[in-house]
């Protein structure tokens, strides 16, 4: 170290005594290490780095020293303050790290609790299936046509070649609007929409007519007096039964799965000729399981009826049967839903129990 200075010996300034300074540093480092919280560290900082701290006081003494001694004393105090500062910074970082860890632990939430504050609602699966079917046909270039549910008898029956003596026109199936003889019914199918479409526009016509229909059936596991149908109608030049089968095949493949095809069986409907029953391959067992519950082991599932639009119907709707031909088909939406989603009881579909719709959410 430096030699004695007869005029002014820093050794004689007690605060600048190296031993004192070392002691101050040691005290500071000990206090910092002992600080167990950020608050305690703050107190230690004030005590050992603040204006009244021994090292700050020592620093102040340097100015009074002769120039020759200033440098050395300055260096000594500076180093001492540096060591205290480092200790503080390190301890600060350590304590902050601990605090952050602790906060994260404290903030833990049990997110396995499934209890949304505002639960999402749901669409009715009949609406969802219906929209899905609409989209399938819209994607093929068809349009969606709709009409009233209280409908005129002529549009619901006569225009469709259902004569007044047709059994389906009796009270057995049809809701008649009062007074008797009003000429109005609750539509028994969406076919009157087909007639309205043909009356309102010229061919080519490619429309799907989905909607609510009514028959005087009692509600049971498989029947409901109010149900939903979708009917297709195509009227264009050169339309054949092969086109009918092509449209039906495309539809079942998109709703029930690739590779599924339909089968047509001869049948009778007044509004079509030739007429056919539509079966669809069982997508559950592929016809391989004699005990299949979906198809009853036959490999085929009955879907609905179809055929070439009867020329009388075309004429009644003002379409020239010499120039145009057309096909039509009708299928049930409830049945499609029950088959596709394994719904076993019609009551669940019609009773409005929110638990039923909630199972399906917003997309089907």
């Amino acid at each position: 170290m430096s030699g004695p200075n007869k005029q002014y010996d820093p050794v004689e300034v007690a605060a600048l005594d190296p031993a004192v300074i070392d002691q101050a540093v040691a005290d500071a480092v000990a206090a910092i290490a002992a600080a167990d919280s950020l608050d305690a560290l703050k107190a230690a900082r004030l005590a050992h780095q603040g204006e009244k701290s021994p090292l700050a006081l020592a620093n102040r003494e340097i100015g009074a020293l002769p120039p020759s001694a200033k440098a050395e004393a300055g260096k000594r105090v500076g180093q001492a303050r540096g060591r205290v500062g480092q200790a503080l910074t390190a301890r600060q970082a350590e304590l902050e790290g601990e605090r952050d860890e602790r906060i994260l632990v404290e903030e833990t939430m049990d997110l396995t609790v499934r209890a949304p504050r505002r639960p999402l609602g749901a669409r009715h699966p009949i609406s969802l299936v219906s929209e899905r079917i609409e989209d399938i046909f819209v994607a093929m270039g068809w349009e969606i046509a709709e009409g009233p549910e209280v409908e005129s008898e002529w549009l619901n029956f006569d225009a469709l070649n259902l004569s007044p003596d047709h059994p389906a026109r009796g009270e057995a199936d049809t809701f008649f609007v009062a007074p008797a003889g009003s000429g109005l019914v609750l539509r028994t199918h969406t076919s009157p929409v087909q007639i309205r479409t043909m009356l309102d526009r010229e061919p080519p016509i490619y429309v799907l007519c989905p909607g609510k229909v009514f028959r005087t059936d009692d509600l049971d596991a498989t029947h409901t007096p109010v149900f939903h149908q979708f009917e297709g109608l195509v009227v264009d030049e050169g339309i054949t039964m092969a086109h009918l089968k092509g449209a039906l095949d495309a539809f079942v493949q998109r709703l029930f799965g690739d590779g599924i095809v339909t089968r047509l069986r001869p049948n009778y409907f007044p509004f079509t000729e030739p007429s056919a029953e539509i079966d669809c391959q069982c997508w559950v067992c592929g016809g391989q399981d004699p005990s299949c519950r979906t198809c009853g082991g036959t490999g085929w599932i009955e879907l609905g009826g179809c055929g070439m639009v009867n020329q009388r119907v075309l004429r009644a709707a003002g379409v020239d049967p010499e120039r145009y031909s057309g096909f039509a088909f009708g299928l049930g939406i409830e049945r499609s839903l029950m088959l596709r989603h394994g719904v076993g009881d019609m009551h669940d579909i019609v009773e409005g129990d929110v638990r039923f719709s909630r199972q399906f959410g917003m997309e089907i």
């Binding site: 049990d110 093929m140 270039g141 209280v150 264009d236 095809v261």
Partner: protein, 848 residues
């Protein structure tokens, strides 16, 4: 229609190894839907048994079973060895001495049910006494078969316990059951089904109507066919064959083979005369009627009924006849039968009858259908006439009946044969043989087309060559009245080749328009509500007359004017809803009743606005396009049916949980849902203060377009309504007209450019009278503040001493922003003052 395979084999070539399933498949191919297949899977011992003792034993479950002993001959426990077969039976329609059918252990019943001796009700039951249903002989399971009832006393008398009942009842024979569509009346006969089978397989058909028929002469029974008022110009009867057999023993036993066949067809043998007419009808499809000749006064005829006339039919019902009913009448004009539907009691063949008059006639299908429906009387005869009977088969059918009565009843046929034949001749169909190819999309060569038409019985003659094809004249067979035009014949050609041959070709329309604007709006509406926690439901639109009182509608409220149904499903619900809430509230109630406390539901659907002055919708008939005026009247008569959306909710709209308590739904939620639909559609809806049933008068808001057009209402239901409809207190609801929303949108919305300058916020508190709606204050602020106002937000409502009684203080935050620069403090103050001034002027607001 049932077709026993053994009978079918007599009429068509059926391969020896063909099973019932093969036959059914062949019939399905040509359009007869399979309804069922029975028989064939049965195994003996199934034997005739004589009941010896019957001991009723009441059981704990309230039923009484019978502990029986039965003599089953040489089978099982033998009477000859001092022991009879012991069987437990649950039915009670038999007694000691009756002959019954027993299946003994080891036997197998239809459906593969193997019978073994089993312990039941404290006894060992050694087999079963069978019902008709258990044996696959129809649906009759009221009781077990008593053979004297089923086969007649005489036939039963010839039986011995232990006889094989499988052979006796034809149980081993497979029976195919097919569904006959309304256009194929001829398939309600074995003749028709055999013809279709032959057509499907290309095999031989042996027509049972080809028999020796006595020629008509003038010596027959007097028949006077008249019709004073034909329906649509079609005479009620165009053919009437009458034959007489005298000296018939009508108590003679029906031959076993005939009983067996009738049983297989699900008919119960009754007496010789009845069984013969039924048998001939089943074979040839021609309904016959047998009269006791002694009850007639020397002639029969047809005519329409007169007002007030009555007839007691064979089912013992006295029926008031309608002037449209076609009758068979006695020579003295007395009604004998409703033609083609049912005969009368007075001329019924009985055990005392000796001389029988056989009627084989052809009646107008429409006339029979109307009588059948009018009298709610569907018979085997009416079923056939309605769908069309072959008018050419009448004479053969009468002949066969005569022959059978002579053979089995010991009678003598009168030489007189009456055949009143007034059939109008049928014109041929001009048919282009290329039509099947063009209509089906599969190539059908000319010879195939003509060949198929001939195979189904058509008479095809060349008509000449037309453009691109050959035109032929096709005269359909008499049993096919359904074949009337080209497409009818196309179907024949297509079904005989097989629908399975038709290729699959996707039709390719030109580009479509996609969903309409209205359809897209409805999806937005439905999804917007579901995303806010409401669950979509679908309800029936039927409501009770008392509902409108429960909803508190004023006497003059138009929503009371509901359309009603002539034949509602339930007499309690005869009306059609005029609001969706009419039926949605019931769905809410049901959910609550099922234990859901927090429920929010909605429904989109049509409502029916009752007509002011109902006009009758014309019904101009089929086949012609009505004129424009008639069409306009048809459309005008249909009531307006706007599409509404309704919402209803009760309980908590926000759930309680670890985060804190839940929040009850309130009127403002209903308003917010309603407004959200506007927001979702880019439509700025207006909320107005109003009153409206069924809502709470102080908690309902009107929802309108900017121009004041009403969209709907939202709020809390009136407490009287919730109590009348058994709904939770404070249930909230809304109903909006979706068609109004659709009409108000659809024009592309034009975007406003966004300013990137900072906004300036300023708060104002305005004191207004309690009855001033906040919406009015807000509207005034907006109009006073001008274009630079970006938003107004009501953030507090204060009531208390400082604002005085009957007043409230509304605190608003106004946000201003200019498009081109930052607004100065002075400018913002000036804009705020202008806004407040407008509020003061319009609502009396005073700034606090």
């Amino acid at each position: 229609m049932h077709a026993p395979v053994s009978w079918l084999r007599e009429l068509a070539d059926v391969p020896a190894d063909a099973t019932g399933a093969d036959i059914a498949a062949a019939l399905v191919r040509v359009g007869l839907e399979e309804e069922g297949l029975s028989g064939g899977d049965i195994k003996g011992p199934i034997v005739v048994g004589r009941v010896l003792t019957v001991e009723p034993e009441p059981q704990k479950n309230g039923k009484t079973i019978n502990w029986c002993t039965v003599d089953v001959g040489e089978h099982g426990q033998r009477v000859t060895e001092g022991k009879a077969q012991e069987i437990v039976c649950g039915a009670h329609n038999f007694g000691p001495g009756d002959l019954v059918v027993c299946v003994l252990p080891g036997g197998v019943l239809p459906g593969g049910f193997e019978i073994s001796a089993r312990k039941t009700y404290g006894h060992v039951s050694n087999g079963m006494i069978c019902s008709a249903r258990e044996l696959g002989l129809g649906d009759d399971h009221d009781g077990i078969i008593v053979l004297s009832t089923l086969l007649g006393a005489e036939a039963a008398a010839a039986l011995t316990p232990g006889d094989d009942a499988i052979e006796l009842l034809g149980l081993a024979d497979e029976v195919v059951e097919v569904n006959v569509t309304p256009d194929r009346g001829y398939c309600f006969s074995l003749r028709g089904i055999a013809r279709e089978y032959a057509l499907s397989t290309g095999g031989v058909f042996r027509d049972p109507a080809h028999l020796d028929v006595a020629a008509a002469n003038d010596d027959g029974y007097a028949v006077n066919v008249t019709d004073g008022s034909p329906i649509d110009g079609v005479p009620g009867c165009d053919r009437y064959v009458a034959r007489i057999v005298r000296g018939v023993d009508t108590t003679a036993a029906t031959p076993q083979w005939m009983s067996k066949r009738l049983t297989q067809l699900g008919m119960r043998p009754i007496s010789l005369a009845v069984d013969v007419t039924n048998y001939v009808m089943m074979l040839l499809g021609q309904p016959l009627h047998a009269f006791d000749l002694s009850t007639l006064s020397g002639g029969v005829g047809t005519r329409r009924a007169r007002p007030g006339e009555k007839l007691t039919t064979l089912d013992d019902v006295a029926r008031a006849l309608d002037p449209q009913d076609l009758l068979i009448v006695d020579g003295d004009d007395r009604p004998l039968a409703i033609a083609g539907v049912m005969g009368g009691e007075s001329s019924e063949v009985t055990a005392a009858t000796t001389d029988v008059l056989i009627e084989a006639a052809h009646f107008d299908p429409i006339s029979v259908a109307r009588s059948s429906r009018r009298h709610k009387l569907t018979t085997e005869a009416s079923k056939r006439f309605e769908r069309g009977v072959d008018p050419a088969v009448a004479a053969a059918a009468a002949q066969l009946a005569v022959d059978l009565l002579v053979t089995h009843g010991g009678g003598t046929a009168d030489p007189g044969v009456t055949d009143v034949d007034q059939r109008s001749s049928r014109g041929p169909i001009t048919f282009d043989t290329t039509l099947p190819t063009r209509y089906v999309g599969l190539d059908y060569p000319q010879d195939e087309v003509v060949g198929t038409l001939r195979a189904i019985g058509c008479d095809v003659t060349d008509e000449g060559v037309a453009e691109g094809g050959v035109v032929v004249a096709v005269l359909p067979p008499t049993w096919r009245p359904d074949l009337t035009d080209g497409p009818d014949l196309v179907e024949e050609v297509a079904r005989v080749r097989g629908y399975d041959q038709i290729p699959s070709v996707l039709p390719t329309p030109r580009a479509g328009h996609g969903l309409t604007h209205g359809q897209r709006v409805r999806r937005v509406v439905a999804n917007t509500l579901a995303q806010q926690g409401l669950v979509e439901v679908l309800t029936y639109p039927f409501v009770a007359p008392g509902l409108f009182d429960a909803l508190g509608y004023a006497p003059q409220d138009v929503r009371r004017r509901a359309e009603s149904l002539v034949n509602p499903l339930s007499d309690e619900l005869p009306l059609l809803r005029t609001s969706v809430l009419d039926t949605l509230l019931e769905a809410l109630r049901r959910n609550v009743a099922r234990g859901q406390r927090d429920v929010a539901v909605y429904e989109l659907g049509l409502v029916t606005i009752g007509r002011d002055e109902p006009s009758k919708a014309p019904v101009p008939g089929i086949e012609v396009k009505p004129d424009d005026e008639t069409l306009a009247r048809i459309r005008a008569a249909v009531p307006d049916q706007p599409r509404h959306v309704a919402m209803a909710a009760a309980g908590d709209v926000e759930r309680g949980g670890p985060w804190g308590p839940g929040r009850k739904v309130d009127a403002s939620d209903a308003v917010a849902w309603a407004l959200s639909l506007g927001t979702a559609l880019g439509l700025d809806l207006v909320v107005t203060a109003t009153e409206r049933a069924p809502w709470h008068p102080g908690r309902v808001a009107g929802i309108t377009l900017q121009d004041g057009t009403v969209v709907g209402y939202a709020g809390e239901l009136h407490p009287k309504v919730t109590s009348a409809l058994d709904l939770p207190a404070r249930t909230v609801a809304a109903e909006l007209d979706v068609d109004v929303l659709v009409a108000a949108t659809g024009v592309p919305l034009q975007a406003t450019e966004l300013s990137t300058y900072p906004p300036a916020h300023t708060d104002v508190a305005l004191v207004v009278a309690e009855d001033v709606p906040a919406a009015h204050v807000e509207a005034a602020l907006r109009s006073g503040a001008g274009d630079r106002l970006e938003s107004v937000q009501l953030f507090d409502i204060y009531r208390g001493e400082q604002v005085g009684d009957g007043h409230k203080s509304l605190a608003y935050r106004l946000t201003f922003r200019a498009a081109e620069r930052t607004l100065t403090t002075d400018e913002v103050s000036a804009l705020r003052d202008a806004a407040v001034a407008a509020a003061t002027e319009r609502t009396g607001a005073v700034q606090r």
